[in-house]
Symmetry: C3
Subunit: 141 residues, 3 copies
Amino acid sequence: MEYRKFNETYVIRMDRGEEIVSSLTAFCRKENVTLATVEALGAADHVVIGLYDVDARQYHKHNFDGPMEITSLLGSISAKDGEPYLHLHINLCREDMSVIGGHLNECRISATCEMIVRKIEGIVERKLDEEVTGLNLFQFV
Amino acid sequence: MEYRKFNETYVIRMDRGEEIVSSLTAFCRKENVTLATVEALGAADHVVIGLYDVDARQYHKHNFDGPMEITSLLGSISAKDGEPYLHLHINLCREDMSVIGGHLNECRISATCEMIVRKIEGIVERKLDEEVTGLNLFQFV
Amino acid sequence: MEYRKFNETYVIRMDRGEEIVSSLTAFCRKENVTLATVEALGAADHVVIGLYDVDARQYHKHNFDGPMEITSLLGSISAKDGEPYLHLHINLCREDMSVIGGHLNECRISATCEMIVRKIEGIVERKLDEEVTGLNLFQFV
């Protein structure tokens, strides 16, 4: 990963073989990013994406391999228990150009990933919502 | 819905059972947002999406139900006749992780929706283009 | 194409018959935009999208025609050899609302395209990575 910061905006390049979620988490710790938006595109060859089952309170995860373009990656960085908390959703096309997508768990870059992280001056945390969803929702302080 | 404003950026959480288009319209009225961009992700269990037929000048609408992740939601808030005008397009994955999408008419949240609204200082209106498209297009004043 | 600039943000309308990549390239030259992000939605009737084969170092391109909504268009403007360099990825839905997508080569607008270009104050260039990917990657100066 290599990047530059211009005012409150980071322009980031991740490289072949990097895993997006872990690289971005490490970036957040290093740069002390606690509230930001994320947008990206790129190319991947392995992804783990999920769909949340609210009733069962669990993510159904699926692996996909092979050449894919990241047609969109959107999400946010917030904070939970003093650690960066990433919430990213992704769309990817496969060789027939059909698109799959979901909640992003893991994505290995095949060629490059070009990402924009826009810092927001403020604090938004996460709190486990035990009552309704079983998810860590935005908690405003 | 709960939210905080940080400079010109709103961080918004919508909750289970809320309908995105009506909630966001109410938000715009309350906060007097007349020009902004919208980006979001989340999870939904009912959506009405459409595709515009330029020749017939009408939207073909389709309903989808069941567990879905909102893999991307992008669009804008502008103004028409003194009222907020939303134009949103959405992608959602279904249980097999395949993605459907279109012009967003209606979307009911199943778990959460995390939205960023970035205000733009300016005015952009809408005007019905009767001649070519039959749509309310950006009108610059 | 018609547009207005509000601070560092351009709100752009492209019209029926325009091709997005060539129109946006002309816009960048005219407005001297050398680093920016791009987000858009709209409707199209012809698109050329591709998927990069890292091993063969070539894009496999596919044409799609017929009524489509641009459900998301994300990317960046940077600079290569003093010229604007666009890197855009797109998702589009077809008449059954299924979504296709990929690296954007060409997209003809059927109704309208509403685009936001956010200038970033800085310089990011492109450099051909001959060693690993065969692509023009972000080069930070």
